[in-house]
């Protein structure tokens, strides 16, 4: 009986230890939730200039009912930067300057400055992969210019700039002039192709930002850019189009016909496998007409004519994109190598080693078939 009592008292005393809660607890008011990470080359050319942007929760929460009010309170976020040898080192250096800890679990955007990207982004890749805290759904973007300058742009539309940028990617279902890459996809592609990947490009406006076109990464290094139309062409081949507008002019009319793509299929096919491969890409594009010159009325004949014009236009867009990648950048970002390795493994074995040099001379024919499925509410 006495033993039991002693036992119970011991258990009760020990409960002090296991009811204190989590060992790793950091209270929410001791955390800064980093929304954006910016990585640049530092001025000295050696180190990295790493920036973190995080919201001031007090200001966001105070918007309603609170005494301060959100509107006139100035910026809702704080951007801090530091030069360091690595991203992780930068986050730790911040510990000397910030009253709270940085947390990356809710990071939405990772911005890489142009200059750093031209030198190579292996270190960023390694950080993203080894770090088990970073949000694998955050977007990876190459900034034309310095990532740091982009971090504290201000406007009234969204409370948080990180959300503003992340939400732009949601518009991909109506616009195909940029690419969308999150950490997951970034890792997958960069390891499959050994450093070749298309990343979205971002530029700074006066009070906003613009994501347009794509950055061409070859062997972890930034080689150059794809302009908006060229990016759309690449998206056609990659089957990445969820919505895109094509503009064509019917001869004799000043106002264009605007066509919205709703469905897009791209079928790659290997025709010949000589010294250099010969491909055919069949694009099956479906969509609807949203604008026409007021003077014309649509009938079957007219639709046929417009379809023909659209096919030529899409062919032209796609071909110019292929040309640029083949001739200027000489890098296969259109997954022709991936297609071969998956579907024609015996051919791929032959090309694999020297694919970098073979791809630029590969012959790629594009055949587009456009079907108009809708013409809006008038004819």
């Amino acid at each position: 009986m006495k033993l039991k009592k002693i036992f119970l008292i011991t258990v009760a005393a020990l409960s002090i230890f296991y009811t204190t809660g989590c060992w790793d607890m950091v209270d929410i008011d001791r955390r800064f939730f980093v929304g954006q990470i910016g990585v640049d080359k530092a001025e000295d050319g050696e180190q990295m200039l790493v920036s973190f942007v995080f919201p001031i929760v007090r200001k966001i929460a105070g918007g309603q009912g609170g005494g301060e009010g959100g509107g006139g309170g100035g910026s809702t976020v704080i951007a801090v930067s530091t030069a360091a040898d690595s991203i992780h080192a930068a986050a730790r250096q911040m510990a000397m300057r910030l009253s709270r800890r940085l947390f990356f679990e809710h990071t939405r955007v990772i911005l890489i400055g142009e200059e750093l990207a031209r030198d190579g982004i292996e270190e960023v890749v390694n950080f993203l992969e080894r770090n088990s805290e970073i949000n694998r759904r955050s977007f990876v973007i190459i900034v034309q210019g310095k990532a740091k300058d982009l971090l504290n742009f201000q406007n009234e539309i969204e409370v948080l700039p990180a959300l503003y940028i992340a939400n732009i990617f949601k518009n991909r279902d109506i616009c195909a002039r940029f690419v969308e890459v999150d950490v997951d996809k970034f890792m997958r592609e960069i390891h499959t192709t050994n450093g070749n990947v298309l990343l979205p490009r971002m530029t700074l406006g006066k009070t906003d930002v613009k994501i347009s076109g794509a950055a061409v990464m070859k062997k972890y290094k930034l080689m150059g850019w794809l302009e908006e139309n060229e990016t759309m062409g690449a998206n056609f081949i990659l089957e990445e189009i969820r919505g895109a507008d094509i503009v064509v002019y019917i001869p004799g009319y000043k106002y264009p016909v605007v066509f919205t793509v709703t469905h897009n299929k791209a079928a790659k096919e290997l025709l010949e496998a000589g010294d250099y491969p010969k491909f055919r890409v069949k694009l099956d594009v479906k969509g609807e007409i949203v604008e026409t010159p007021e003077q014309i009325r649509l009938d079957q004949e007219m639709l046929k004519k417009i379809e023909k014009l659209l096919e030529d236009r899409i062919n032209q867009i796609v071909t110019s994109s292929i040309k640029k990648l083949q001739q200027e950048y000489q890098v296969d970002l259109l997954e022709f190598g991936v297609y071969l390795s998956k579907h024609k493994p015996e051919v791929w074995e032959r090309y694999e080693k020297d694919w970098e040099n073979i791809f630029p001379d590969a012959e790629i024919n594009v055949e587009t078939k456009v079907t108009i499925r809708g013409i809006g509410a008038s004819y």
Binding site: C22, W23, D24, E105, S132, R137, D184, H191, T192
Partner: protein, 365 residues
């Protein structure tokens, strides 16, 4: 030895086997298989399942011959007392080592993804104490826990991976059959190794209500495990891609980290998913721990196995703290995997042959 009323039914035995096999291997399996066979990893799972089934059937046959004896008694009766003793010691050692490796992998994943600054000792001891508590009550309560637990992880896991459907690119599993046969075979072996755990029934077999349905237990549990692994590997590889899967230490966890429930209702749901996985690790650890204790009890012909549970505790703990880092742990894991060929296949096979010979010899006498 088990208490007389500490008996489990066939369904409970199936749950026990499945829950024992599925555990820490879930986090690393896709990496091992893609390293071995690239895009053919799913074929390797099926082949591995066949291997595992063969060894499970051998174990099942041995169990049917127990005739109310314990594992050690049976071994002694066919191979002689010293051999029986030796086999018992080896099995006990194997189970203890398995416990240690399971615990260590568990603590590595937890430390990396969830509790970064919690001491490893603490993570290991809490799980071990919990397991200690469960198995002290015997085989039947443990099996009952497995039965309750099974639908929880099954539903969660199936649902969780379905949310990755829009990210999955199943063409990552192309091309088919491009792996050379020797690599395919080697990969199947490592897949079969991750299905180790059925040998727990060798020692737990003495607690079966009836040995009539042992083959059914083997078939159903290995089939379920193979199906689960197949589902896992197909999704993980299609989401991450072959090359990325090869590079990550715990590819499954990384897939879980990228799951979003559509509509933006829930983001970052990996914490509850990892919790479910913790329970699965717990249900792998407990049977091994239990088996180690009962094997030793059988060696000493003890009436009660409970006293051996605390005796094993420090050994498991110290062994699990021995590896210095993840890479060393990997080599331990390989070692235990290779041991499981011996304990899950070779020794049962010898016992099968010896038992048959003895039976025939006995008849001709």
């Amino acid at each position: 030895m088990l208490m007389d009323d500490d008996r489990i039914s066939t369904a409970q035995a199936i749950a026990l086997a499945i829950n024992t096999i599925l555990g820490v291997g879930l986090t690393t399996l896709p990496r091992e298989l893609t390293k071995a066979a690239g895009p053919d990893c799913w074929i390797v799972v099926i082949l591995g399942g066949i291997f595992a089934l063969i060894s499970a059937l051998i174990i099942a046959t041995v169990i049917t011959r127990f005739n109310g004896k314990t594992f050690i008694e049976y071994t002694s009766s066919i191979l002689g007392r010293p051999v029986g003793f030796l086999v018992g010691v080896l099995y006990a050692f194997y189970f203890v080592l398995s416990c240690a490796v399971v615990l260590r992998i568990f603590s590595s994943v937890i430390k990396n993804f969830v509790l970064e600054s919690t001491p490893r000792e603490f993570i290991i001891i809490t799980l071990l104490v919990l397991s200690f508590y469960l198995i002290r009550h015997g085989l039947e309560p443990m099996a009952r826990f497995m039965v309750i637990n099974t639908p929880i992880w099954l539903i969660t896991a199936v649902a969780a991976f379905l949310f990755t459907f829009n990210k999955a690119d199943f063409s990552e599993l192309l091309p088919f059959f491009r792996t050379p046969p020797d690599k395919l075979l080697f990969g199947s072996l490592s897949a079969a190794l991750s299905m180790a755990g059925f040998e727990v029934l060798m020692v737990a077999g003495q607690g079966l209500n009836t040995t009539k349905h042992v083959y059914k237990i083997a078939l159903v549990s290995i089939a379920t495990v193979t199906a689960s692994y197949l589902y896992l590997v197909v999704f993980v590889v299609s989401v991450l891609g072959v090359e990325e899967t090869k590079m990550l230490l715990w590819p499954t966890v990384d897939v879980l980290r990228s799951i979003t429930v559509p509509g933006g209702i829930l983001e970052r749901i990996e914490a509850p998913l990892i919790t479910v996985w913790v329970i699965m690790v717990f249900t792998t650890l407990s049977p091994y721990y239990f088996s180690a204790a009962i094997t030793i009890a059988n060696i000493f012909n003890a009436k009660e196995f409970k006293i051996f549970v605390p005796l094993l505790f420090p050994w498991i703990y110290f062994l699990s703290m021995t590896p210095q880092n993840v890479l060393e742990l990997e080599s331990w894991l390989k070692f235990v995997g290779n041991l499981s060929i011996g304990f899950g296949f070779v020794i049962p096979f010898i016992m099968l042959i010896a038992g048959s010979l003895k039976a025939r010899w006995g008849k001709s006498q």
